[in-house]
Amino acid sequence: MTNHSTAEVNDLLLQVDDLNVWYGENHVVQDVQFQLRRGQALALIGESGSGKSTITKAILGLLPEGTGLADGQVLFEGQNLLALSQRGLRQFRGTELGYIPQDPGTALNAVRTIGSQAHEAANLTGVTGVAQQRELILETFEQVGLPEPQRVYDSYPHQLSGGMLQRVLIALTVLPRPALIVADEPTSALDVTVQKTILDLLDQLRTSLNIGLLLITHDLALAAERTDHLVVLRHGQVQESGSSAQLFENPQTDYAKGLLADVPSLNAERYRNARGRLAESSTDEISAIRVEQIVRHFGAGNELVKAVDGVSFEVARGSTHALVGESGSGKTTTVRMLVGLESPSDGRISLAEQDLSHRSPKAWREARTQLQLVYQNPFASLDPSWSVANIIQEPLARLKYGTRVEQKARVLEVLAEVGLNESFLTRRPAQLSGGQRQRVAIARALSLRPEILVLDEPTSALDVSVQADIVDLLAILQREHSLTYLFVSHDLALVRQVADTVSVMRHGVVVESGTSQKIFENPEHAYTQSLIAAVPSSRSEITTGIREQSPNHIYAGAIA
């Protein structure tokens, strides 16, 4: 099947030496070097701006023409790719060099069937004749675990789920039997359970077809588990490189140590210690949030879609309750009903034992002072034309909190609480980093001194080390103001550490709920089990092992 006969000569597949890349004046990649052997996997890890995607583009010859300039050596099967013209590169791309993009939704042409796009890849195999190509395509679809290959072949991209599209892209990539696959965050747009199967598939293809895998990721746990070698990048420079096992056991540089220490799934106690004491103090009888059998239906044509179908949970004062689920589980709709952005079709929501279901807009305004929301993406939730001072002051001004002078004083106070100083007051969101933006968003939510914060994936748009800072900040704020958190997340490793109680949602219903200890140590529902199994390092031998702390959680929910 393979069309590279030189394979036996040299085991070394890709060798990058002294790679430098400039974007105009900016020296974005500096003296990077690494090697990848046939059949092995290497991960480039780093936070945003570390240059990992730029390196990929340089290898594939996809740097923007005119502005991007690469220098050094990229030896692929002994040939320097950087010295080749675009025409010379074309014979490698697709056939020898496969590329799996990050977002499967935008990588395929929406107006053509999967099959017609697959034939483009099949043309690179040397197999001619539509019938033979079709056979090969269907065979490959089956190989990557697509059910009903024929149906997929006839489908348009929008008719398939994200996971299936990613499988299609993998199939199209492996179809010409490349020697190297470059995968740029191939699973970060996917749910955890789907992520696991995709990664398993890549592993399996790699070993069975002897393909080299260059994996670009920000997820250290994933990199640790799936690859043989790691290259840790920061500001375009290699901080540390070596075998995965060695690097995780004994990181040499401070940067790598810091990164590893911040990954929730690798550090079972990282965030739990920060809050520990709190759970004990929450002995209040009155629940902060009580949600009873809420239902939300959407009409889609003649069909009724049950986005949320009878969800109940209860959150004790001063505790953290996590809503866990994959996309489409209804967790976002539940949160939107809770904060009043949508109204439930049926059911009751109470805050501090006060029913919110049929309240006037005015009463809702009062409820806002008790309950605030922090959005997932701080890049979208702050008005770009407003200054930080005005952003934080907005809830105070709208809900008539004291005089103007008092409002200004409160803004300063809450800004200090989230760890920002006065110099930020006049800045606009564009002048802030992601972490700073999320701090401002938290400050805005806290300005009215609410008792409850709803945190909708508050860290998922942020880098690992920034995520650590934000989670630490949230823990401190909770301890100081005895806040109640409703924490929506898909990151189970994080939830395990920050939540006292957990509800697992799927298809609009809660499939399992209980203390986080119970859920994570003794999951009863098959879906919960599969979710936990999909967390990267929970199956990994690389970590030091998860030690259990003495139980200090209070289970507040009384849900069957």
Binding site: Y375, A380, S381, L382, S385, R398
Partner: protein, 283 residues
Amino acid sequence: MTGILQVQATLETKSSPAKKRSSLPISAIISFAVIVLVVLFSAFPTFFTSHSPEVGDTSAKLVSPGLQHWFGTDYLGRDVFSRVVHGSLSSVSSALVAVLIGLVVGSGIGLVAGFLGGWVDSALGRIIDVLLAIPGFLLAVVIVSSLGFQTINAAIATGVSAIAVFGRLMRAEVIKVRGATYVESSFLSGGNRLQALFFHVLPNAGRSVLVLAILQFGTSIMVIASLAFLGYGDPPPSSDWGLLVASGKEYPTAPWLIYAPAAVIVATVLSVNRISRWLKKVR
């Protein structure tokens, strides 16, 4: 009134990052200078010329440009430079009126249509479509013919023909901003729809519309000059730029009568366009 444009321009400049401001291209500097000069012409015409725009020296008619008369003199011996300077107030202010009409009415329609959506959007959208279907200049001619031949009517006509352009842009921008998370979050902060509209949607959607307004200012000068050229503005002895060009065409032996005022029109419009393009890039 003439200060409004300047205020808008400086506001835009201030909000842009300091780094970009420092690299103001030379062409933009020249453009700003031209606009400032034209504004000063309208505000203090007597500071720039001592000649009367209306009373000429018949012994010195059709004198070619020189030190005494920068742009020469016309068939009545009037100083053309003086007429251009005194005519700028009428040309600039009528262009401003036109832009204001288009901006206020057009953005209003676009804002309401985009923010409310539904049948309101459909109804207003059709009105905008109809306006867009009629060539702007033709519409202006029709309006000014029914209102009467006056410069102010020409300004109104020009403004009305620009409503659709503003309306369409504003609607598109509002729809883009309306769904933004930060608008939703203002409801969570206790704001109502009106507050969200004025404090969040309008400032963010309005930026491109303001850039369009400046561009439209140049276009309006052109349209109003064209209307004046055709005799739809104030009659002589007023000295609208378009009118100067029109009366100059009777004297082919004195080409400066056409070229001098035409050059001023062209310089002003090009400068405005350049500034508008620069603002678009900077913000």
